[in-house]
């Protein structure tokens, strides 16, 4: 009975995965190499590598990929550094304006990126930050910071205070505590926050487009035109989707092996 039950669950999970992941990705794979695929055919009648070739030979693609990776890595790292002290303060101290500050930190998740980017774009022009990597990085950090702070402070909260006290009594100074106690213990939270920042920064579109494009293109803004309603040619869009899919998927699958769900969930789960 119990056994029967769990086999049913396995089957259900399998069907879900097939239908929700394998099928859609498989279909865009087929589209990307199709040379004419008309109904009612269930597979393309003819295949071509033309769509891939066109993209891979595009000289603007490489800078976009490089930009994407550089921006994503810098955004992830800097948001971590910026978030760390603030997350610590929120996790460890109780103070009068705490609630207000917590709401303020969450707010960027809520306010449409367009509003922020349009406002910042004007200032960045004055500061010569518009259409620059620095500008894009700044505006993206603002987007990923809220969740990073949340998840890190969730992680910090779970570190027992006694551990720090113990380290102190053993003669550890502030730096040593951070280096040997806090950092190692918050690795799961940093991993979770880092992954979310990475994905968030990589797929970010509105802010990057307004602040950076077309001088600074990321893969996402560079390819957006091929996916938007205006320029959607299905085989081309399929190629683009797969190009966009690959880096995040690789990072995601790599990190998910060592990532702890509960940490990510805990950070987001208590707003």
């Amino acid at each position: 009975m119990q056994r029967y039950h769990s086999i049913f669950l396995s089957l259900l999970a399998l069907v879900c995965l097939l239908f929700m992941l394998v099928l859609p990705i498989g279909i865009i794979l087929l589209w990307s190499v199709s040379n004419g695929w008309f109904p009612p055919n269930l597979s393309p009648g003819d295949y071509t590598s033309r769509h891939w070739a066109m993209f891979l030979s595009d000289p603007t693609l490489t800078p976009a990929i490089v930009n994407s990776l550089v921006i994503t890595v810098i955004v992830t790292a800097s948001s971590m550094v910026i978030a760390m002290p603030t997350a610590w303060a929120l996790a460890r101290f109780d103070f009068r304006l705490k609630k207000i500050i917590e709401i303020f930190i969450l707010a960027p998740l809520i306010v449409p990126g367009m509003v922020v980017a349009v406002g910042l774009g004007r200032v960045f022009l004055k500061l010569d930050l518009a259409y620059s990597m620095e500008g894009v990085i700044l505006v993206q950090i603002a987007g990923v910071l809220p969740l990073t702070i949340r998840i890190l402070s969730g992680g910090f909260e779970s570190i027992p205070g006694d551990i720090i006290n113990a380290a102190r009594t053993l003669g550890a100074h502030r730096f040593a505590i951070i280096r040997y106690i806090l950092l190692p213990l918050s690795i799961p939270a940093m991993l979770a926050a880092g992954l979310l920042s990475f994905v968030g920064s990589f797929e970010e579109f509105e802010r990057t487009l307004i602040i950076g494009a077309p001088i600074v293109h990321t893969l996402t803004t560079r390819l957006f035109v091929n996916l938007s309603g205006q320029g959607l040619v299905i085989p081309v869009a399929a190629v683009v989707s797969l190009i966009l899919l690959l880096p995040v998927l690789v990072v995601f699958l790599l990190t998910s092996r060592i990532m702890r769900d509960d940490v990510m969930a805990a950070g987001m789960g208590k707003l």
């Binding site: 008309f38 000289p59 004007r122 077309p214 001088i215 035109v225 938007s228 320029g231 085989p235």
Partner: protein, 417 residues
Amino acid sequence: MQLKCLAASAAVIAAMTGAAHAADVTGPAFGDTFNVTDTSVDLSQLTRENFYDVLVPLAKKDGEMTFYSYWPPAPLVVFQNQIIPAFEKKYGIKVHFNSVETNVGLPQLDAAYKEGKPSPMDGYFSSDLPADLNEMANIRLTDILPNAADLDPSLAYEYRGIEHNGAYVPFHGNQTVIAFNSAFVKGDEVPQTFEDLLAYSKANPGKVAITSPLRGGSGSGFLTAVSHKLMSDDCVAKWMDLSADEAAADKLVNNSECFAPVWAYFNDLLETAQITNGNTDTLNLMANGVANVGTAWEDLTFSYVMGNQLPDTVRVTILNGGQPGGAEGAFIPSNTANLAAALLFMDEILAPEHQAWKLAGFASRSPKTELDASLIPAEAQKLLVPADIYEEGRISNANPVMSRVVRDAFAANVLDK
């Protein structure tokens, strides 16, 4: 060689004697003053004749420039694979090329202009023009570019109802059409009039796809075509008045009966036809066999069929009464930092060899009168609007203010129903 000497001497003469004359007759800028921030080029002295002599050395000093292009697939390839390599080779000037989604470069230009910064692009092939041409793009390019001498006059000074006086160099001729799949729509079923289209839709519910005028040019073109055909001459005249302002537009569109037959037609049509989210959305529906007839762009349909994204049984036509067509073009922002290079590049895009290349390869019709569709290979000719229909079928647009008001009214009177 001899020709070049001749041109050079002509230029010298023109420079010595013709300055006053040029300002009178073919003054290079349409404002009384030039407000270009890059003053390395004396625009008041520039003519078709002295163009290269004056600009080539200056442009080489610039050494580089940035060009924006909006997306339609064909022109992108034309720039990337044809024009820019040729230009770079010819002049040794590096072109930074950026493809952008439709007209997102315009707000950037606007923002940079307001902040007193150089424009992010030196030339921009866009489907729209900056709102304030007097300030932001006011060089009479079509009067000074040597390669612009044989432009179709109807395309040289006006675009989508905007009188730009030559600031917007027509590059890529296009035409809104009705596309149909001849495998399903045969013989006399092929709509020739708006009534035919309505009748076909009623007989085949769901088989006609109309691009939403809010989401794509083939849709707003169709709206223009219907208005042009169904409104009274008096109404059409008021509607096509290029000087119409917001108030006049509001009066005509919202406070007169002029558009009543247009809304009635659409409301009737959309009972059976479906409305789509864009030009490509319509074509994808036709590729999926869901729609047999749809509003489209001629060149986009052409490249879809050539790329096997549409069955090769798809054909295009223009309905009786005409459908809008024109030529999308490029302009130089007044706050460009590389004026000389930009001017040279603008000339390059009209070079006959490039224009012929894109015409033959992408059905991107040339605004130059000397090049016509006969350059397109015979087997691809069938994918174009037949020449006789094309000649009569092209109508122009109302001005942007009017178009916007009509579009909003369309949303309120048709889509909202």
